[in-house]
Symmetry: C2
Subunit: 341 residues, 2 copies
Amino acid sequence: MDRNGPASSRRTTIYDLASVVGTSPSAVSSVLNGTWKKRRISESLANRVLQAAEDNGYALNIQASVLRRDKSDIVGMIIPKYDNRFFGAIAERFEEAMRAEGRFPVITCTQRDAALEVEAARGLLSYQVDCLVACGATDPDRIAELCRAAGVPTINLDLPGSLAPSIISDSYSAARELTGLILDACARDLGLAGPLTFIGGRLDDHNTKERRRGFLDAHAARGITVPETAILTPGYAPARARAALEALPVRPRGIFVNSTITLEGVVHWIQSLDPAVAAAIRYGTFDYDPFGALLPQSVGMVEQDVAGLVAELLRQMAKGAEAPRRVINVPCILRTPTARP
Amino acid sequence: MDRNGPASSRRTTIYDLASVVGTSPSAVSSVLNGTWKKRRISESLANRVLQAAEDNGYALNIQASVLRRDKSDIVGMIIPKYDNRFFGAIAERFEEAMRAEGRFPVITCTQRDAALEVEAARGLLSYQVDCLVACGATDPDRIAELCRAAGVPTINLDLPGSLAPSIISDSYSAARELTGLILDACARDLGLAGPLTFIGGRLDDHNTKERRRGFLDAHAARGITVPETAILTPGYAPARARAALEALPVRPRGIFVNSTITLEGVVHWIQSLDPAVAAAIRYGTFDYDPFGALLPQSVGMVEQDVAGLVAELLRQMAKGAEAPRRVINVPCILRTPTARP
DNA sequence: AATGAATGCTCAATCGATGGAGCATCATTG
DNA sequence: CAATGATGCTCCATCGATTGAGCATTCATT
């Protein structure tokens, strides 16, 4: 159409389309954003504009559009890592749900680094997000403050904060159930009644605290006393977990593993043992991984209900800034091995 | 500072800062974007502006900034899924690398759906991305065309296309090595010389073709003939893989598994067998999963070199639109079980 | 004292899309 | 035939940051 030779160097704008069709930029804009009926544009003009847009490979300039409008329809999420199924699934579901609502999700991964979290949140605010979801944030309240300064509502996911509504998994109940399951398996398979060993995490971390509580209550309900030495929380790293297990005076046979990442260390440890000894170990893990579930001594894994968490997230987002700052618990799903001969 | 009572309803702009400091918006802008020395702004004014920005919780409006500039510094990536370690790691590394260069990564997940891929690419173009990376795209050339229309350079990652430079893993060599490894293990552990069974993927898929080629050549190098019936490519889904294995007249004992997702089906099948029979099976998998690697009969996994792929990606991006449309192969890493008593 | 240069700013146009206000044109009504 | 209303547009200010051009000062030099 115009004299731009090699694949038109500039991107097509509504002004280009307007001159192609022989109309005004406003008309083009309203046709393209769907407000043309409201603005009494004729159907014939609308069709000509749409055709021209198609022919010229027009793509909206979101920057210009958002700059002008008051809502951006962009929703931001910060997430720690993509290295486990849980966060990956959260990211996927969230994107899907937002897109289904015609909004634009932007997700940023913060490497479990508090400074990066803040930087990422700032970055997302620059995008004029309408809402920011802080998933698994180290310091959710710091982020909530940043957002408040910008007048943007926040929601916490996976880890609770005090300045915004929080949607988290019901770690306590699931840990209690999982503990029961492991105790049963130990009694059945190994004739073992004793207390289990809890491995992984940090006690200053909300999830670990809740899981420990469930772990203890499940024991208490069966009249089993758990010595403090049976609770090992040297962080999540595989190597530290393995070292902690190796340092125990008595080799544990029933184990509550506090994350899939810790499980890697536990399995390495088990595989370093004599096969016969290894066979007389049972463990269950909080968090789910399909291969982790297939390992020989695994008696169950707790899968967080990603669909449920995201559904609840949508519900809170719909409430906007008026959402109460409370904690919403979503039940987990206990997965046990099925096809085992 | 101003009369906005409850957490200043409007976001702070350079105009607000200008009136707070008592200077012009241009001065504020140049201080905040670092061009102030070039524009001969005094250090004292710069400091006052920075202080005011801090005090008022100023956040840049990217939309306005990008609208004005010719480069956006936004780089887009489309990626199929976050449900395996490979894509998760790619996303993480890419984000990290871009941020280190002061650019803004935006990643979108397309659920292995060709229509979503195109929609996502269009969405990213709306963000005025300077460059779009099509990772594992079903139809990279369709995306390259969209980008060409918008004058945006594209790079393919993981799967090659013909209209843009492509950076992919060297599937052939790795498959050949892995096949050799499985053959060795079968000979050593099971006294088995025979051809292996190849399971998973589709023959119209580039990676499967290359891996099949490596698989066949490794056999040929040892003088082993592979019957066509030993190559099963019913897709990647676990259930289909399991069904295909169960349908075989003779139970395979040495297996080349074409993806971690297929591996799930293979392991389910193995676990449905009598333990003694299961113990006499060896397999290796193309693609890596830390738990997959810990499963008993696994003799090795091929890990794609994510760091290497991303490093190569950066190199190509630096070349901009002049990057030649060729395919760059990055070697994989063969991972074998280490601590096994 | 006059000239030139350096210093430290401000002005105003601009990017592309949006939407309230307004302007023709044509049909209908009393 | 004037008044009213509907129809189908266009005009233009606006969002916030950027940047080339330009305007006062101050300082150094001859």
